[in-house]
């Protein structure tokens, strides 16, 4: 016996519609905005560059200020998005990839920083910031593409 309001066929059609809309959001989404990546690169450079400045009381405060600025700016940029995908679209694999890339960038950036410093190159921390920023930028673009593919695959062809 069908519900008073909907027949089984209508209910099935409604569920297919829901699956289609979910897929649509996955295809419209840009997980990481380019504005985010540009800000991350700029702040990476500034955060490390201040360490090449002569030691002054203000430089530590500047570091903390930049550390606070990064998430605030990222939040502001997020609020201007056309489509913000729901975190559930990424799935466990998506979140593991996000975490893995973040760790990889940090490790590679630290290694680069140590090498530059050991070679006695001028402005070692500024260069470290540039290297880390470029890694974030390149990694972010690849990550964006990967995450979008994960989202679309998760939503495509919902089980009929």
């Amino acid at each position: 016996m069908a519900s008073q309001n909907l027949s089984p066929e209508e209910a099935a059609a409604a569920l297919s519609e829901v699956a289609e809309r979910r897929r649509q959001v996955a295809e419209l989404s840009e997980p990481l905005q380019r504005g985010h990546l540009a800000i991350v690169i700029a702040l990476c450079v500034l955060f490390f560059a201040r360490m090449d400045l002569p030691q002054r009381p203000g430089s530590t405060a500047l570091g903390y200020l930049l550390a606070i600025l990064l998430p605030v700016v990222a939040w502001v940029i997020s609020r201007r998005r056309r489509v913000s995908p729901h975190p559930s679209l990424y799935g466990r694999r998506g979140w593991l990839v996000l975490g893995g890339v973040a760790v990889a960038i940090f490790v590679l950036g630290s290694i680069a920083g140590e090498l530059i410093h050991s070679w006695g190159i001028p402005l070692p921390y500024t260069l470290t910031g540039v290297v880390l920023g470029l890694l974030c930028g390149a990694g972010g673009l690849l990550l964006n593409r990967w995450l979008r593919r994960i989202m679309v695959n998760r939503t495509r062809n919902a089980t009929p």
């Binding site: 089984p8 209910a11 099935a12 959001v25 995908p85 729901h86 975190p87």
Partner: protein, 113 residues
Amino acid sequence: MTISLPEPDPVIVTTTRLSIVALLAAAEEMEFAAVRDAVGLSDSALSKQASALEAAGYVGIRKGYVGKRPRTWLRLTATGRKAFQAHIAALNAIVAQAGASIVDPFSPPPRAG
């Protein structure tokens, strides 16, 4: 003995409202124009639906600016998400009760091989 099925939500049972809510359920937030283009409605038609969903407590509306241009964003409230999940459950119950396969819009497709 008659087993009563969970009832579909009367607020979002129509195709247009279900489409809007299903889009917002897959997003944290969506710009008004993006929802309008995705669903294929006019500004006024979407505005009317959004207002009704907001009045029901299912949708939140935020206004802001991108540069100097005013923009509007829609999001599903916690109440709206709960109602949507309950509605999906009701739809699945109707389909299952009729002996058909359950359509789960949230499951990834089964792996091949």
